[in-house]
Amino acid sequence: MEHCKEYRTNLALRPDGDTAELSQHAATCPECAKAAKRAAAFDTVVQSAVMPMVPDDLTARLLALVPGLAQPMVRSKRWLRQRRAFFAISALLSVIGVAVLIYGLYILGSYVGVSEIWHTQ
C-alpha cells in the first residue's frame, strides 16, 4: 500500500520519479498499472494540445525576417500544372514552327531551283 502511494505520487512527474523498485511494483499491482496507463494517455493528449500546429504561412513570415536569406519559393500545385502546360504548348509550337520553316525552305528551293542558286554564287 505504501508503494501504491509513492508510485502514484511519482506518476505526475515521471521523468524524475521512476525507480526500478517502483516499476516492479506496477507489474504486480493492477490498480497502479491502470493508473500508469491513464497517466500515459493523459500525457499524450495534453502534449498534443499544448503544442498546436504552427500556421501555414508563419515559417515564410519568420524566414523573411532573416537578412540575406534567399526566400524559398512557395509554389502552388495549380502554378506547377500551369507551368507544365506552358512548356508542353511551347514545345509543340516550336516543333510546328521548325516544320513550317523547313517546308517553306523546301518550297522556296523548288520554286527558285536550288542548283540555280549554287551556280549564281
Binding site: 506518476l11 505526475a12 493508473a35 494540445a49 499544448v50 508563419l58 525576417l65 537578412p67
Partner: protein, 224 residues
C-alpha cells in the same frame, strides 16, 4: 531535440543567414506554443512568435552560454508575452509561490478514474473529441498552470530549466505540474459529468405566457 547544436548557435551569432534560418525553423513550434499558452489566440500567438524572432535576431549575440540556449530563448518569449499582456491592459499571469508539500496530491488524475476513455494510451491519440475537450479545459486552466504544463511537455526541458524560464523555485515548478494536471483532470471530469446529464425538461406550467417561444428553449439557455 529542441536544443540546437553549439556550432549552429555560433554560426548564427556570426550572422550566417542559413544558420539563423535553421535556428528559427527549429524553434518556431516551441515559441508558438509558449505564445499560444500566454495569449491563447492563434493570430496573436503568430504575431508574438514573429516579434520573438525579431528580438532573437537582434540579441542573439548576447547569449553567452551560461544557461541552455532554449532556456534563454523561452525566457525571452515568456517575458515578451507578459509585456504584450501589459500593453493590452490584460492581467499578467501571476506565479504564486507553491511548495510540493502544500497539501497531499497522491494521484492527480484520480478524478478521471471512472472515465474509460483514458484507459488506453494508444486509442486517445486518435480521439479527436477528447482532444477538443482538452483544448477547452486548457483554456479555463489558471495561467501559471497552463504555462508550466506547456513547458513540461517540451521534450527535453528539465525542471531546473522550467524554473529558470518562469523565474520561480524548483519546488514551485513541480507543484505547478502536479496541481496543473490535477486541475485539468478535475475540469475534464466535471465537463464530462455535465455532458451526460439529460437536459432539464420544462413543465407546461413553467412556461410564461408572454414568452412562449423563448421558454421552449429555456433548458438550452440555462434559464429557469
Amino acid at each position: 531535440m529542441a536544443e540546437p547544436t553549439p556550432e549552429l548557435i555560433q554560426r548564427a551569432q556570426r550572422g550566417d543567414p542559413e544558420s539563423l534560418g535553421a535556428l528559427i525553423v527549429g524553434q518556431q513550434q516551441y515559441i508558438y506554443s509558449i505564445a499560444m499558452s500566454v495569449l491563447r489566440q492563434p493570430e496573436d500567438a503568430a504575431d508574438l512568435t514573429q516579434e520573438a524572432c525579431m528580438k532573437l535576431l537582434r540579441v542573439i549575440g548576447q547569449y553567452n552560454g551560461e544557461s541552455r540556449f532554449t532556456t534563454w530563448l523561452y525566457r525571452l518569449v515568456v517575458n515578451l508575452g507578459r509585456d504584450e499582456l501589459r500593453r493590452r491592459g490584460r492581467r499578467v499571469p501571476e506565479m504564486p509561490p507553491m511548495s510540493d508539500d502544500d497539501g497531499e496530491v497522491i494521484d492527480p488524475l484520480q478524478s478521471l478514474a471512472d472515465d474509460d476513455r483514458w484507459a488506453d494510451p494508444a486509442a486517445v491519440a486518435t480521439n479527436t473529441e477528447l482532444q477538443g475537450e482538452i483544448r477547452q479545459a486548457l483554456d479555463s486552466l489558471e495561467d501559471h498552470y497552463r504555462l508550466a504544463l506547456t513547458l513540461y511537455y517540451f521534450e527535453d526541458l528539465r525542471y531546473n530549466d522550467i524554473a529558470e524560464i518562469l523565474d520561480v523555485p524548483l519546488n514551485t515548478v513541480k507543484s505547478y505540474i502536479r496541481r496543473g494536471k490535477e486541475r485539468l483532470a478535475t475540469i475534464l471530469a466535471s465537463s464530462e459529468s455535465e455532458k451526460i446529464q439529460p437536459p432539464r425538461t420544462v413543465a407546461k406550467s413553467d412556461v410564461p405566457v408572454s414568452q412562449p417561444r423563448l421558454a421552449r428553449f429555456a433548458w438550452a439557455l440555462g434559464r429557469r
